[in-house]
Every structure is written in C-alpha cells, then in structure tokens.
C-alpha cells in the first residue's frame, strides 16, 4: 500500500485543531498526501506540515472545489500518478476505507469510485434527520438531472484514475463542485461505481459543516455555471 502511484488530496480550511490527527491516519498507512490549505486564518498549514506531508497554500480562500482541483493538478504533474483520492480534513472519513475505493480502479472496473454512506446501514454516525432528508432530496435531484444511479451525491471521499481526474477538471470553486463532478461523469460517460464507506459526524465537524441552506448556493452556482 502507498507508493508514488496514489495521491490523497486533502482540502483544508481552518482545521487546525484536528488536521494533524487526520493526517497521521493517512501517513501511518503509507499514503502520499497533498494538503491544500485554502487560505486558512489559523495554523492549519503548519499543523499539516509538521506531519511530513506535502502542503500547498492558497493565497486567498477560493473554496473546497478549488482546493481539490489544486491538489489534483499537483498530483497530475507526476507521470507516476495513477490514482487520486479526495479525503476530508475534518475527521469525518476513515483512512482505512481508502483501499476499498482504489481496488476497483486497480482492477480496471471503473474510472471513478464514489464513496456512499447510504448503501448500507451504519454508514452514517450521528446524522440529524433533517440532514439525511436533504441529502436524499439532493440524490433524487441528481438522479433526475444526470441519470447517474447514485445513493450519495455529496460525499467527499472519492477516488479517480489519473486519466479520469484529468478529464473532469473542476471549475466550480465552492461547494457545487460535488454536483459538477457528477455532471461531468455523466457527460463524459465515465465508468463509475459506488462503494460503501462510513461518515462520522462529530460535534466538531457538525459545528463546522455546511449549513443546509447552502444548498441554495449550490443550485445557484450550478445554474449560473454556464455563463462565461
């Protein structure tokens, strides 16, 4: 496990309190990690650098989509890169599950693997009923507009083959990037599959997470995305 062929991209914004612990999970499993500090006002970047991983910094806050794209652009500079994983910096994801996403890519079964917390019971720990409902509605909307049969549309744990990552090129800087990735998978007819993963909502991550009304911003960004 862990060689120059896999890069784990960790976008981070003001995760100073938890990022070291999150990164150590990845480092201990031997993954190559690139953290993209999206203009944090705290010591996120220094905390990350102290674990020995690659740390890039945005001079101004652009949004999670932009941070992920920066990490992907970095990883793609190396010709050895074959798989790129996106992983949240707030502790909601489990590093142990990354291998589950890469296996099907390695076996050539798909171009993109999407983590889903709703494919199996127990995939989500401590989710509020409102959030669950909102995510279900978002899933329904995505199925109708893209035709993709997915069960979790807003999950930060994904894996791409390098070729797929190069073709997707995220242009939505803020939270609409998740919808954009799915739209591009559908448009470019990339082979995709979902894999069950666990998302743990802690008091910390819930306090920091998106407010549900941010879904309005996401829809707006998607609709105005075509205006150049």
């Amino acid at each position: 496990m862990g060689s120059t062929e896999t890069w784990v991209v960790v976008p981070a914004y003001n995760e100073g309190p938890v990022i070291k612990a999150v990164l150590y999970q990845l480092v201990e499993l031997g993954y190559n990690v690139v953290v993209v500090d999206d203009g944090s006002s705290d010591d996120t970047a220094l905390q990350a650098a102290s674990t020995g991983v690659v740390v890039l910094q945005h001079a101004c806050n652009l949004g999670q989509g932009a941070a992920i794209q920066t990490g992907i652009a970095y990883a793609l500079r190396s010709p050895d890169t074959r798989y790129i994983v996106t992983f949240d910096s707030d502790g909601q994801h489990s590093a142990q599950e990354i291998e589950r996403l890469i296996e099907p890519l390695r076996a050539g079964q798909a171009d993109v693997i999407l983590g889903s917390r709703f494919r199996h019971p127990g995939g989500v720990v401590n989710i509020t009923p409102q959030k669950r409902l909102l995510l279900k509605l978002a899933t329904l909307f995505t199925r109708l507009t893209t035709g993709l049969q997915v069960t979790d549309t807003h999950n930060g744990l994904r894996a791409f083959s390098a070729a797929a990552a190069a073709r997707i090129t995220i242009q939505q800087n803020r939270m609409a990037h998740a919808s954009e990735i799915l739209a591009k998978i559908a448009e470019q007819k990339l082979r995709y599959a979902e894999v069950p993963i666990t998302v743990t909502y802690t008091a910390y991550s819930v306090a920091k997470g998106q407010a549900m009304v941010n879904s309005i911003n996401i829809v707006w960004d998607m609709m105005t995305g075509k205006l150049r």
């Binding site: 101004c60 920066t70 990883a75 500079r77 205006l227 150049r228």
Partner: protein
C-alpha cells in the same frame, strides 16, 4: 387572447436577449449594443415626442412607458455583462492562486518543486516542525 404588437416585440426582444447572452456574446458586440442604447437614450431626450410617437405605433400608451420597458431590458443587459466580467476575473484569480500554490509549496516533496514520495520523514529540510 389577442396580443398587442408591443407585447410581441418585447417578448421577442427578451428571447433574443437570452439567446444572445448564452450563445453569441462578445465584448465588442456588448459595447456596440451599449453605445446604441445610450445613443437611443440621448435621442429620446433631444426629441421627447419621438418616444411617444414610437410608443403609439406599437400599441403602448405613453412614451415614458416605452422608455421604461427599454430601460429594463438595458439594465438586464448591463447586469449580465458585469456578472460575466466578474466571473472572468474569478477564473483568473483562481488560476493565479493555483499557480502560486503549486509553485511555492509550504512543504514540498523531497525533490523541491515536484511531487514525489513524501513518506520520508527524514532528511527533508524546510518547514518541518515536530
């Protein structure tokens, strides 16, 4: 329901506007349209009865109403141009920020400036803090 010529013209204008915005726009055409509309405004000020005459031709009661409708379209048009410009600036800002981020890592892989195996915790000078 019978349509007034003015309604047809306005709806056509809006549709053309949308078509233009999403398909055909160029900066030059934007500016030509802008100048045309401004000229029209100046002419209406110089010849106040002109707007009333044109309004009556298309079935609108007052010249002031016609000018109002045209102003709404002009406003929308102006707005779209500005939003488009802002988006372009955002794209440039993103590209610039990304170039700086990738070109000047806080902590690079062992070969400075290039992605490589960063598992090595030893021997890498720089921002390493334990």
């Amino acid at each position: 329901m019978t349509f007034l010529p003015s309604q047809i013209i306005l709806i056509l204008a809006i549709l053309l506007f949308i078509l233009y915005v999403f398909r055909v726009r160029t900066l030059l055409m934007d500016r030509m349209i802008y100048m045309f509309l401004v000229s029209g405004g100046i002419i209406c000020i110089l010849f106040p009865d002109l707007s009333t005459a044109i309004a009556n031709m298309v079935g609108i009661g007052r010249g002031a109403d016609l000018i109002f409708y045209l102003f709404v379209i002009f406003s929308l048009f102006n707005h779209v141009g500005l939003v488009s410009h802002v988006k372009r600036l955002e794209r440039q800002l993103t590209d610039l920020t990304r170039a700086i981020a990738v070109g000047q890592p806080l902590r690079a892989g062992p070969e400075a400036g290039g992605p490589s195996d960063s598992r090595s915790h030893h021997g890498s000078a720089g921002a390493r803090r334990g």
